[in-house]
C-alpha cells in the first residue's frame, strides 16, 4: 500500500500561473526553457512550481505536441547477457535524451506472438522503434504491418526500409574461424544459432566464408537454440563421429555446453578438441578451460541504436555506417590441431 495524500486533482499549469501571478503561457515558457522571460519572473514561477509540487502532465503535452517522447523496444530475451545488456544501455541512452522506453518482450517467436507484441507497442504512440529481436520472421511481420514510425534494427535483412546498425558479425565469426585455421585445424564444425535469427545466419556465413577460403572440408552446421543445454546435447552427438578437431559455437552458452559434453566424455579441450564461442559473456574467462570467444560491445550497440533512432525521429539522420567490429579474445579453450581420430 502506498500513501495517498492526494486531495483533489494534481496542480496544473494554471494553478502555478495563478500563484505566480502570471499567465499559464508564461509558466509553459518557463517549463520549456523559452528565452524571453525575465529572470525575476522565471524565478517566481519556479518557486510557485516548487510550492505546489507541480509536475507537468505528459499526456496533455503529448496530446498537443503529438510527441510522446517514448520509444519502443521489441526484444526477445530470456535473461541472456547480450540482449539484456544492450537493453540496459538503450534505457540509459534514451533517458539521457529525455526519452522513455517501452519494452515488449517476445515470449515465443510465433508470428502470432510477434504481431501481438508489435501491435501492443504501436498502439502506444511511440516515436520510434528499436528491434532487438532480429529474427527473420519479425521483419516479415514488420514489413507486412506498414509501420509508420522510424525503426532501427540490429542487422539489415537487405529488404525493408529502415536503418540497421552495422555490426560486423560476419567479420567476427570469420576471425574466430580463421583463428582455428591458423592453429592448424582442418576439420571444424559450427554449432549455429536458430536458423531464423539474423545473427545466427551472419555468424554462419562468416564461418563458411573462412572455411571455403581456406579450402577446407565443409561440415554441415548444426542448428541449435543458443542454450547451454543444447550445446551439451550437440556435444554428445558430435562425439559419436569425432570427425573434427575444433568447434566454433554460435554463442558462448552453447560453447560451454559443448565443453561440458566433451569433459563428460573424457575428451580434452583444447588438447583434443578446440572450442571457440561468441559474445564474451562475463563467465567466459572463468569457466574451464577459459573460453576463446568473440567479444561484443553490447552496451555500445544499445547506445548506437538509440543515437541512430533519435536521429531519424528528429529528422537529422546520424551517420551510422561506422561498423562495430567485434574482436577475438584468445583464451585457453583453443589450441593447436591434432590428428583427427574419428572414423572419417
Amino acid at each position: 500500500m502506498s500513501p495517498e495524500p492526494q486531495k483533489g486533482r494534481a496542480p496544473s499549469i494554471r494553478d502555478v500561473a495563478r500563484l505566480a501571478g502570471v499567465s499559464h503561457q508564461t509558466v509553459s515558457r518557463v517549463l520549456n526553457g523559452h528565452e524571453s522571460i525575465r529572470d525575476e519572473t522565471r524565478q517566481r514561477v519556479r518557486e510557485a512550481m516548487e510550492a505546489l509540487k507541480y509536475r507537468p502532465n505528459r499526456a496533455a503535452r503529448a496530446l498537443v505536441t503529438s510527441r510522446s517522447r517514448t520509444i519502443g523496444v521489441l526484444s526477445a530475451t530470456h535473461g541472456e547477457y547480450g540482449p539484456s545488456s544492450s537493453i540496459a544501455a538503450i534505457e540509459d541512452a534514451a533517458r539521457d535524451q529525455g526519452y522513455y522506453v517501452n519494452t515488449a518482450n517476445l515470449a515465443s517467436s510465433s508470428p502470432g506472438a510477434i504481431i501481438e507484441a508489435l501491435k501492443h507497442l504501436l498502439l502506444q504512440d511511440i516515436e520510434g522503434l528499436i528491434v532487438m529481436a532480429p529474427q527473420v520472421r519479425v521483419f516479415d511481420v514488420l514489413a507486412g504491418m506498414a509501420i509508420d514510425v522510424p525503426y532501427v534494427s540490429l542487422q539489415s535483412t537487405g529488404h525493408g526500409d529502415h536503418r540497421a546498425l552495422a555490426i560486423d558479425q560476419i567479420a567476427g565469426a570469420r576471425a574466430a574461424t580463421q583463428h582455428l585455421i591458423d592453429l592448424g585445424h582442418e576439420e571444424i564444425v559450427h554449432v549455429a544459432g536458430p536458423q531464423d535469427w539474423i545473427e545466427a545466419e551472419a555468424r554462419m556465413r562468416g564461418f563458411l566464408d573462412a572455411v571455403i577460403d581456406a579450402d577446407l572440408r565443409t561440415h554441415p552446421p548444426i542448428l541449435g537454440d543458443w542454450s547451454a543445454d543444447f550445446g551439451y546435447f550437440a556435444g554428445k552427438e558430435l562425439l559419436r563421429y569425432r570427425d573434427f578437431t575444433a568447434v566454433f559455437a554460435g554463442n558462448d552458452l552453447m560453447a560451454v555446453g559443448l565443453m561440458h559434453a566433451f569433459r563428460d566424455a573424457g575428451v580434452d579441450v583444447p588438447g583434443e578438441i578446440s572450442v571457440v564461442g561468441f559474445d564474451d559473456i562475463p563467465l567466459a574467462q572463468h569457466v574451464w578451460p577459459p573460453l576463446t570467444t568473440v567479444h561484443q560491445e553490447f552496451g555500445e550497440v544499445g547506445r548506437r541504436a538509440v543515437a541512430l533512432l533519435l536521429g531519424e525521429v528528429r529528422g537529422t539522420p546520424v551517420d551510422g555506417d561506422e561498423e562495430i567490429v567485434p574482436s577475438l579474445v584468445t583464451r585457453a579453450s583453443s589450441g593447436p590441431a591434432h590428428a583427427v581420430v574419428g572414423r572419417y
Copy 2:
C-alpha cells in the same frame, strides 16, 4: 529511414464517426466495449475504423481519464540473468493486462543516479512502480521522495509503506548452508553480495542463522560485488589462509569465479573445498564442476510483482503473502568435508 505515408494528421474518433454516420460518442462506446450498442451499429463503426486505419490516441485518453496504463520499473541490471529474466516476465505479465512498462535502469548506485532515474519515472505518469533494484539506498530515496503511486519491491525493508514480494531468501541461504553442514563442513566462509543490497543481506542472514544454530565458528563474510571477477579475486585471497572447507557464495557468478581461483591453485572442488552458489543460472549445471546452488524462479517473481502491483493500482489488493521459497539444487561442486589443512 522509414516510410512516411502520413498525409494530414491521424484519423480521430470523429473521422470514424462521420464515416460510420454516428456520433463520436458512439464510436467511443464501441471502442470501450459498452453494452447498449446495436450489433449493426457496432459493425458499421468497426468497419469505418478498419477503413481509416484508426488507432486510438493514448495521450488523449490518458488526459481525460488520468490513467496512463503504464507501470514503471526501476532496475539495476547489467545483463545479469536474474533481474533480466524477472523484467522480461514483468513485461509479459503487464502486457497481458494491457499495461505498458517503462523501465529505468540504474547505471550506478549513487544517490544522485537513483534520484535521477526515479524522477524520470515519476515525471512520466505511471500508475505504479516496481522496484527491482533492492538496494537499501533506493528505499531511503523512495521514502524521502513521498512517492504518490503504489509500489512493490522485492523485499521489505521493514520500514516504508508498500507491498513487498515475499521471497524467502533467508530460507534459501539457510538451506544452502545447512546442506554444507550436513556434509560435515564446520568451517564455512560466505562470500556475500554488496552490503547495501537487501538480497545480499538476507542471504547473509540465512547463512549466519544456519552457522550459529549449528554452533560453528563464524567466519567474517567477505563483501563482494556479485561479479565473477570478484569471486576469482576473493578465491585467491581466501587460499592464503585456507582455514575453511566450504564456501557459500551469494550468487552463482561469484561461485564460478571462486572455483576458477581454486582450480588455478590446484585445489580440488569438491575434494578439498566445496562451493555452493545462489540463483541457478543456466550455466550452473554446465561449468566444472556443476554447481550446487539455490534455484530461484525469476519469472514467477516478475509475474507476482505485476499481480501485486496491479491489485494495488485497481484498489483490489491481491494476497501476496504466499512466500516464494527457493529450492536447493545439489550438484557436484559440494561434497563431504575433509580436514582443514590451513593454518588455523
